[in-house]
């Protein structure tokens, strides 16, 4: 394997070679740091690069593996972490000036789990300010750029994680998703982004945007890699009151099986309204491909989606306004004007409005669970629109970028975005696969079957060596 091939290899391919001593964690880490050094000036994907700590962790991993103590498939694998996860001794800004010099004295649960699995953490990735936005164009730290076209945004809020993985600067990354923030940047950057079921992965130590809508999950280049990361991340944690104690299945089991007879719904209507024609065509073609693999694909309309979109956005606005109320009152200058306006407006909803929204949420969830029940998975475009130029983004895209994803933050159902094509301009398109609660395994199996049947994953951004 050449150096660039190695940089774009999947975790699932690397893991057995690392375990066998054929690939050196130290060499992988040094190569990743060299790629960051060479490319991140243009991409702005990283807020902080922890080169010394990464080299030290890689050396330790290499020594342990050589001594016969291989911890598992993430051991010695260089990963990146969105800058809203607390990292002990490493600045954690949340993409804000508010926390510009915060150095936590503890790790977030997800970071703890990655470290325990032996992963090598390369640094913290850039993001939309305090995770409240969908482009990663950050008023304080500048825009993150899309590796497929540096003039374009990478999506958000986990734009730095998506750009880093797409450009081969890291083999995977941690993201968080309150309305779209793992899946939509994954779609914009041509990678895999998994939002697990609410409560599947601990949020302890992740800076909140909206307590009842936030999710933590992996961003990777391949589906099997996402399964490997989820295996490490999933599980109970009493420090997160919403994290559940359910047993964690083996996400690798059955991953490469067939999907004959699986019932898959293609959700029309709401999800295709105002959809870019190239996106609509690619997603319809993906549904056909899955049909060709033996799945039974039917068209459906999920109920109450417009309400889910509105109620979801409102709950985020209220919870974000509550979380940041003190800071907004005492240090308004620490927020960008855009974010300040969003938070101020969230504060104008009443307690009655919020509770009615949470009652509506129960009704919407009941309706969606009923509609999803007969199916193994539901397909939608991840985002109705691909990435657009940072300096020339149509204003109405602001309402579209999270439209197709936020219903599954509201309902808490698991959803994964995988690449399903490219626009004529060469920008990636994402397919969202939604599953039943706690059945991440089913959507990963379907995603993997699609990935094996297509060659989107083999493409690399033109600027990438």
């Amino acid at each position: 394997m050449t150096e660039p091939d190695l940089a774009f290899a999947g975790i699932a391919e690397l893991a057995p070679r690392i375990a066998a001593g054929e690939v050196s964690p130290l060499a992988l880490t040094e190569a990743a740091l060299a790629r960051i050094e060479a490319q991140d000036g243009a991409l702005n994907a990283f807020m902080t690069v922890t080169a010394d700590a990464a080299i030290e962790a890689a050396r330790a991993a290499e020594a342990e593996i050589a001594a016969g103590r291989h911890r598992g498939p993430l051991h010695g694998v260089p990963l990146a972490v969105k800058d809203l996860f607390a990292t002990k001794g490493v600045r954690t800004t949340g993409g804000s000036k508010l926390l510009g010099d915060w150095v936590p004295d503890h790790d977030a649960a997800a970071v703890e789990r990655l470290k325990r699995a032996g992963a090598v953490l390369l640094g913290k990735t850039a993001m939309h300010e305090l995770a409240y936005g969908t482009t990663s164009d950050n008023a304080h730290y500048g825009p993150v750029r899309n590796p497929w076209d540096a003039a374009c945004h990478p999506g958000g809020s986990s734009g730095g994680s998506a750009a880093a993985v797409a450009a081969g600067l890291a083999f995977g990354a941690l993201g968080s998703d309150t309305g779209c923030s793992i899946r939509q940047p994954a779609a914009c950057c041509g990678i895999v982004g998994l939002k697990p079921t609410f409560g599947r992965v601990s949020k302890f130590g992740a800076l909140p945007l909206s307590w009842s809508m936030d999710h933590v999950g992996p961003m990777t280049r391949g589906v099997a890699d996402a399964a490997i990361m989820l295996q490490v991340l999933a599980g109970p944690d009493p420090r997160d009151p919403n994290c559940v104690g359910r047993a964690v299945p083996d996400y690798g089991f059955g991953l490469n099986g067939g999907i004959e007879g699986k019932r898959i719904a293609l959700a029309r209507g709401f999800f295709f309204a105002d959809c870019d024609p190239e996106v609509a065509t690619a997603v319809a073609a993906a549904a056909q491909t899955l049909g060709g693999l033996g799945a039974v694909v039917e068209e459906v309309e999920l109920p109450e989606m417009e309400a889910a979109y509105l109620v979801g956005g409102m709950i985020i606005a209220c919870e974000a306004a509550a979380y940041h109320a003190k800071s907004l009152r005492e240090r308004p200058e620490a927020f960008s004007a855009e974010l300040r306006a969003s938070l101020e407006l969230g504060g104008f909803y009443s307690a009655v409005d919020y509770l009615q929204a949470q009652r509506a949420r129960r009704r919407i969830t009941e309706a969606v669970l009923g509609a999803v029940q007969p199916f193994d998975a539901v397909l939608t475009p991840t985002s109705p629109v691909p990435a657009t130029p940072i300096d020339d983004t149509p204003r109405h895209h602001g309402a579209l970028r999270h439209r197709n994803t936020i219903p599954f933050n509201l309902t808490g159902l698991p959803a994964v975005s995988i690449p399903c094509g490219f626009t004529e301009a060469g920008l990636p398109i994402g397919l969202q696969i939604v599953g039943k609660a706690f059945d991440e395994a089913a959507i990963l199996e379907i995603a993997r079957a699609y990935e094996r049947a297509t060659d989107w994953r083999a493409r690399r951004p033109a600027g990438a060596p």
């Binding site: 009493p238 009151p241 105002d274 509105l310 009652r359 129960r362």
Partner: protein
């Protein structure tokens, strides 16, 4: 997708906040204001459709050791 005019936004603001807000605030809130008006209208429309439904869980007895998601910076 057409955007509301300034006069429509002023009318929306009056209805939402019960008072006039200045032009600078209107400009700042712009698309968010229209969104907020849609949300309020939806919630009003749904008042009769929610039956005896309670809100999704906003409280349960904490398990021992459960705490906050992060320590304050």
């Amino acid at each position: 997708m057409t955007e509301p005019s300034d006069s429509e936004l002023r009318r929306m603001a009056r209805k939402l906040f019960g008072r006039d807000i200045d032009a600078a605030r209107i400009a700042t809130f712009r698309t968010r204001l229209a969104h907020m008006a849609r949300v309020k209208a939806l919630l009003e429309d749904w008042e009769g459709r929610l039956g005896e439904r309670e809100p999704v869980t906003v409280y349960r007895v904490p398990a021992p050791g459960s705490g906050t998601r992060r320590q304050e910076p």
